[in-house]
C-alpha cells in the first residue's frame, strides 16, 4: 500500500525466487510430492509464464508463494523469496501484511472470487479501508481503479452485485481488486480460461496494457500455450512438479528442447490444419499421479526418445543458454528433442465423399423463450443443411444460441411453430417423445462435461449396455459382442467397463460418452464443446478419434466449440452465430480465409496464436447485447468495427449468397469486404 509502507526495502534483484522448493499434499496418511525441487526466478517487472497439463502442480506454485496451501499441503523444503524477503520465515502478522501489500492473485473463476452478496463498490473500498483510506477517499480510489481496468461508468458498476456483471466484467473487477494494493507481484492463475475468445482477448489486452503502467512482476499460469506466448517474456514448462524446460517464450515455443514441450506443441491444431491433412499428434500415457515414485526422468514413460539412462537417472537441468537468452532443459537428449517420433501416425484414411442428398435439412427454425414477460429469441430463422460424413462447425460467443440450436435439433427443447427439421427427407416432430425410435437413435450428442453426461451411479458397462439395448436393440450375446467392438473403437479396454465414471480421467470419460453416442449407428452426432474441459494432449486424442470414427462410419457432426483452431480442424462447413442468427455460413476454408463477415473477422482476430505476428487486432466494443432487446437493424451494428452508416441501424441485412455455398449477412457488398479485409492479414488460427 503506497501510504502505509514507509520502510519498504530497496527492491531486490528478483521479484520472486523459488529455490529447491518441495511441496507435498497429505492424502490417505501419506505425503505425496506435488512440487519437486522447483527453482525459478522472476525478475522485477517481468512476466513469467508457467505451463503444463492439469495436475502438474501449476496452481500449487501460486498457492505456495503466498503460503496459502490447503490444510493437507505442506512445504517440505526450499526457500521462497518474495522481493528479497524470505516468506517461510514470516510470522503470521508479517505474512498477512505481505499478502495485503505486496502479492495479489487473480483466479480462474471471477464468479467465485467475488462475494455474491456484497456490492462491487463495497468489495473494492474494503481493500482501501484495510490500508487506512476510508469514506469518500476510498470511493474515489475505487472509481479510479475501475477506470484503470477500462470499466465504463464505474459509479453504476459499484452499485451492482457480481451476478449482474458479465464474466469479462467480473474478471476486470477481480483484476482491479488485485491491483488495488499496488502489488509488486501479481499472480494470475488461468485468468481467462472460462471466458469467450473475444472477452479473453480484451482481458489479455488489459493485462498487457496494465503491465506497461505498473511495475508489477507477473506470474502467469495457464494451460493455453498461445496465451502464454503472447503475454510472457519467459516461460517455464512444468511436468510432475518439476521444471523441465525454461527460457524466453519465443525461443522455447519455436525451438523447444524438451520432448514434453515438443509433444505439447504438436497436439495443437495449428496453421489451419485440417482433419484430412493428417492426424494430430498425441502424448501417450498419463501424467504420473501426485506422489508417484519417480526414478529418472518423469516424462520417460511417455517419451519415445527415452533410453535406459532416462529411466534410472534424473536428468539435470542442462544450461543451453545462447545469444537468444538463458535457457534450461531437463533432458539428456535435449539436442534431438525435436526429432521426437510421432506417437500417432499422421496418415489418415481419406474416404472420398460423394455428394449425396443432405441427411439433415433445417428451414426457418426459431426458438423464443419468455424472459420476465419479454420474448427472448434464442434462435432466429436458422436454415441450413448437412450432408452425410460432413462436419458443420457452429461458432459464436456464449449466448449466441449454439447450444439452444443443438437442443432444438435433438428435440430436447421444442422449437417455435413454423420451422422444419428434416432427417433423411422425413420431417421430425418438434418434441422428442413424438419422434420415432429410429429418428431418435439417428441423432445423438456428446456433451461438454462428461461428469454431468455420465450417470455417476452406473458402471461404464451399464451405461454402454443400456445404450446398446435401447439404441441398437441388442441384448444377450449380440450385445456383448457389440459392446466389445464399441469399447475397442473408442480405444478403451475391458478393464474400464467395471468401474464407475469417477474412477476414470476426463479424457477416458469423454471416450465413454462418445461410445454411448455411437451405440446405435447414428447419422448425426452433435458434439457440444466435447474437448473444452480437457488438456491439449487429451483433446488431440479425442479429435483424432472423432475424425477416425467419421471416416469409418460416414457420420455427420455438428461441432460446437469456442476454440476456432479445433473447429477448423474438424469442420467442412462453418456457421457463425450471433444473437441466435446465422451471420455467415459457408465452407470452412472460405469462412476462415475470408473475405468474411466483420463478426467472423473479429472472432478470428481475437484468438491468441502461438505464432503471433503483430497484426492490429480487431476489438469488439462493449458487451454482446441482450437477446430480449436486440439492436434494431443489423444485430451486430452496436459492436461492428466496419459499420457503414445508418442503414446498419435501420435494416436487418439478408443472409445473401456471396459465393456459391457461402452466405454472409452484411450490408457491405462482398467485393467491398474483400477489399477492406485484404488490408488486415488474417493469420491462420
Amino acid at each position: 500500500m503506497t501510504n502505509s509502507a514507509p520502510t519498504k526495502p530497496a527492491k531486490a534483484e528478483n521479484a520472486l525466487e523459488l529455490t529447491d522448493l518441495s511441496v507435498a499434499y497429505r492424502v490417505a496418511g501419506r505425503n505425496r510430492a506435488v512440487l519437486r525441487n522447483l527453482s525459478l526466478n522472476i525478475r522485477q517487472g517481468e512476466a513469467y509464464g508457467l505451463v503444463g497439463e492439469s495436475g502438474c502442480g501449476k496452481s500449487t506454485v501460486a498457492l505456495t508463494v503466498v503460503r496459502y496451501l490447503p490444510r493437507n499441503g505442506s512445504i517440505l523444503g526450499g526457500v521462497i523469496s518474495l522481493d528479497g524477503q524470505d516468506v517461510m520465515k514470516l510470522d503470521a502478522e508479517a505474512l498477512r501484511r505481505a499478502r495485503a501489500e505486496s502479492v495479489s492473485m487473480v483466479y480462474q473463476d471471477p464468479g467465485k472470487a467475488l462475494n455474491p452478496s456484497i456490492r462491487i463498490g463495497r468489495q473494492l473500498t474494503e481493500i482501501f479501508e484495510l490500508g487506512g483510506v476510508t469514506g469518500q477517499a476510498a470511493t474515489d480510489r475505487a472509481i479510479a481503479m475501475l477506470n484503470r481496468v477500462r470499466i465504463s461508468d464505474p459509479p453504476s458498476v459499484m452499485q451492482r452485485y457480481p451476478h449482474q456483471l458479465s464474466g469479462g466484467m467480473q474478471q476486470r473487477v477481480a483484476i482491479a481488486m488485485a491491483l488495488a494494493n499496488d502489488p509488486s507481484m501479481l499472480i494470475l492463475d488461468e485468468p481467462t480460461t472460462g471466458l469467450d475468445a473475444t472477452v479473453e482477448a480484451e482481458v489479455l489486452d488489459l493485462i498487457a496494457q496494465l503491465r506497461q503502467e505498473l511495475s508489477a512482476s507477473i506470474l502467469f499460469i495457464s494451460h493455453n500455450l498461445a496465451v502464454v506466448s503472447n503475454m510472457c517474456d519467459r516461460v517455464g514448462v512444468l511436468y510432475a512438479g518439476m521444471l523441465v524446460e525454461e527460457g524466453p517464450t519465443d525461443v522455447v515455443f519455436n525451438d523447444p528442447r524438451h520432448p514434453y514441450t515438443v509433444a505439447l506443441l504438436r497436439c495443437l491444431p495449428r496453421g489451419g490444419q485440417r482433419k484430412d491433412q493428417g492426424r494430430l499428434d498425441t502424448i501417450p500415457g498419463f501424467l504420473p499421479g501426485i506422489g508417484a515414485d519417480i526414478k529418472g526422468c518423469a516424462f520417460a514413460d511417455r517419451c519415445a526418445l527415452a533410453d535406459n539412462r532416462c529411466r534410472t537417472e534424473l536428468p539435470p537441468l542442462y544450461d543451453l543458454s545462447d545469444e537468444r537468452g538463458k535457457r534450461l532443459s531437463r533432458c539428456f537428449h535435449h539436442d534431438k528433442a525435436q526429432a521426437l517420433p510421432r506417437a500417432t501416425p499422421s496418415d489418415v484414411p481419406t474416404a472420398p465423399k460423394p455428394t449425396t442428398a443432405p441427411v439433415l435439412r433445417v428451414a426457418g427454425l426459431n426458438k423464443t423463450y419468455a424472459s420476465h414477460g419479454h420474448p427472448l429469441r434464442a434462435v432466429k430463422d436458422v436454415s441450413l443443411d448437412l450432408r452425410p460424413g460432413e462436419t458443420l462447425g457452429l461458432v459464436g460467443e456464449s449466448g449466441s444460441g449454439k447450444t439452444t440450436f443443438a437442443r432444438l435439433l435433438l428435440g430436447l427443447v421444442p422449437p417455435d411453430d413454423g420451422g422444419t427439421i428434416e432427417l433423411e427427407g422425413k420431417a421430425l416432430a418438434p418434441k422428442l417423445e413424438n419422434r420415432g425410435d429410429d429418428q431418435v437413435k439417428a441423432m445423438q450428442i456428446v456433451f461438454q462435461n462428461p461428469d454431468s453426461a455420465l450417470n455417476r451411479s452406473h458402471s461404464i458397462r451399464h451405461i454402454l449396455s443400456r445404450a446398446l439395448k435401447r439404441l441398437a436393440g441388442l441384448s444377450g450375446k449380440a450385445q456383448e459382442a457389440r459392446l466389445d467392438d464399441l469399447v475397442r473403437s473408442v480405444r478403451l479396454t475391458d478393464r474400464h467397463l467395471a468401474v464407475k465414471p469417477r474412477q476414470l480421467s476426463g479424457g477416458l470419460k469423454q471416450r465413454v460418452a462418445i461410445a454411448r453416442a455411437f451405440a446405435g449407428d447414428p447419422r448425426i452426432v452433435v458434439c457440444d464443446e466435447p474437448t473444452s474441459a480437457l488438456d491439449v494432449s487429451v483433446q488431440a486424442a479425442i479429435l483424432n478419434l472423432l475424425a477416425d470414427l467419421q471416416s469409418k462410419e460416414d457420420v455427420s457432426y455438428i461441432f460446437i466449440s469456442h476454440d476456432l483452431g479445433v473447429v477448423r480442424y474438424l469442420s467442412d462447413k462453418i456457421a457463425v452465430l450471433y444473437l441466435g442468427r446465422i451471420m455467415e455460413i459457408g465452407p470452412s476454408e472460405e469462412v476462415f480465409s475470408g473475405p468474411h463477415h466483420p463478426y467472423t473477422e473479429a472472432l478470428l482476430s481475437a484468438v491468441p496464436k502461438l505464432d503471433q505476428t503483430e497484426t492490429a487486432r480487431i476489438r469488439l466494443d462493449g458487451e454482446i447485447p441482450s437477446a430480449t432487446n436486440p439492436p434494431p437493424g443489423c444485430v451486430f451494428n452496436t459492436r461492428c468495427p466496419r459499420k457503414i452508416g445508418p442503414i446498419c441501424e435501420q435494416q436487418e441485412p439478408p443472409l445473401a449468397e456471396a459465393q456459391p455455398g457461402h452466405s454472409i449477412r452484411c450490408h457491405i457488398p462482398y467485393p467491398e469486404l474483400a477489399r477492406l479485409q485484404k488490408a488486415v492479414v488474417t493469420e491462420p488460427a
Partner: protein, 292 residues
C-alpha cells in the same frame, strides 16, 4: 492413437475407493455417529431380546410391592400395580422400535415417489401435487391421528399410516429439490435421447443419485417419528395397554409425580430421550459423512 493411450488411469488409491467405501470410512471415524449407533443398538437389542435379560415379567403385577422406590430388588422401582419399572423400560422399546421405523419407511417410500414425480415432471403435476402436500403439512399430526382413529380404529397400523403419511410430504420436498438439480444434468437428457420411459429415468437413472439426501432425511425423520409415536401413545391414540410402551407408561403414571413417585415416569422419559438423541446423533453422522 496407440495402444498406450488405454493404459489404466494413474494409480491413485484415493480415487479408486468407491464412494460408498468413502462414506463408510468417514462414518467409522465420526464419534458422533458411533456414540449414536451404540445407543440405538442398545435399544434395538432390548427390543429383540429384552425379555431374556429383564429381571421380571414386565406385565406381572405385584400389588403388595406397588409403588416401591428404586432398590436393589427393583432398580427402577415399581409402578402402581407393582410391575417392575426396569423390566418395563427394557421391554418397552419393542413397540416404539417397530412402529416408528415402519412409519418412517412408509414416509420414505411415499415421499421419494412423490418427490421424484414432482421434481421430474415439474409443471402442472408439480403445481397440483405440491399444493396438496403443502396443505397436508399444514395439518398437525394429532388432528390427522384423531381423524384416522375415528375412521380406522386404534391399532399399530393406524399409527404407522398416520405418521408415515404425515411425514411423507416433508421427505417429498427434500427429494424434489434434489431431483430438480439432478434433472438438469446431461445424463437425464441422454436418457431421453434413448427414448427411456419416465419410470426408468426416474427410478433407474435419477434415484440412485439422490439416495444420499434421502438417507439423511430418513434418519432425521426417524428421530421425529419416535417422538411422534411416544406422543400419540401418551395421548392414548397410539399403542394400547397392556403394552409396556414408554409413552403409554408415562401417560398412565404422570399423575403420580405430585405424590413423589417420580420413578414411575422418569426412566421411561429418559428412555425416549436417549433413543431420540441416539437416532439424531446417527443422523448427524450420516449427514456429515455424505457431505464431506
Amino acid at each position: 492413437m496407440s495402444a498406450v493411450q488405454t493404459t489404466s488411469p494413474p494409480q491413485d488409491d484415493t480415487r479408486r475407493r468407491s464412494p460408498m467405501a468413502d462414506v463408510f470410512f468417514s462414518l467409522m471415524r465420526s464419534r458422533t455417529f458411533l456414540v449414536g449407533l451404540v445407543i440405538v443398538l442398545f435399544w434395538v437389542a432390548c427390543a429383540l431380546f429384552g425379555e431374556h435379560f429383564a429381571p421380571y415379567d414386565p406385565l406381572a403385577d405385584d400389588i403388595i410391592n406397588a409403588l416401591a422406590p428404586p432398590s436393589s430388588e427393583h432398580w427402577f422401582g415399581t409402578d402402581q400395580i407393582g410391575r417392575d419399572v426396569f423390566s418395563r423400560v427394557i421391554v418397552g422399546s419393542r413397540d416404539i422400535l417397530t412402529v416408528a421405523p415402519l412409519a418412517t419407511l412408509l414416509a420414505t417410500v411415499a415421499g421419494t415417489a412423490l418427490g421424484l414425480l414432482t421434481g421430474y415432471f415439474r409443471g402442472i403435476v408439480d403445481d397440483v401435487v405440491s399444493r396438496i402436500l403443502e396443505a397436508f403439512m399444514a395439518i398437525p399430526v394429532v388432528i390427522v391421528a384423531l381423524l384416522a382413529i375415528v375412521a380406522l380404529g386404534t391399532s399399530k397400523a393406524t399409527v404407522i399410516i398416520v405418521i408415515g403419511l404425515s411425514f411423507a410430504p416433508i421427505i417429498a420436498r427434500t427429494v424434489r429439490s434434489a431431483v430438480l438439480a439432478e434433472r438438469e444434468l446431461d445424463y437425464v437428457a441422454a436418457a431421453q435421447l434413448r427414448h427411456e420411459s419416465a419410470f426408468h429415468t426416474m427410478f433407474v437413472e435419477i434415484l440412485p443419485n439422490v439416495i444420499p439426501p434421502i438417507l439423511v432425511e430418513t434418519t432425521v425423520r426417524l428421530g421425529y417419528a419416535i417422538f411422534a409415536v411416544a406422543t400419540l401413545s401418551f395421548m392414548g391414540f397410539g399403542i394400547q395397554p397392556p403394552s409396556p410402551d414408554w409413552g403409554l407408561s408415562i401417560s398412565s403414571n404422570y399423575g403420580m409425580i405430585g405424590g413423589g413417585f417420580w420413578w414411575t415416569v422418569l426412566f421411561d422419559a429418559l428412555a425416549i430421550a436417549s433413543l431420540v438423541i441416539g437416532v439424531n446423533l446417527v443422523a448427524d453422522g450420516v449427514h456429515g459423512a455424505l457431505n464431506d
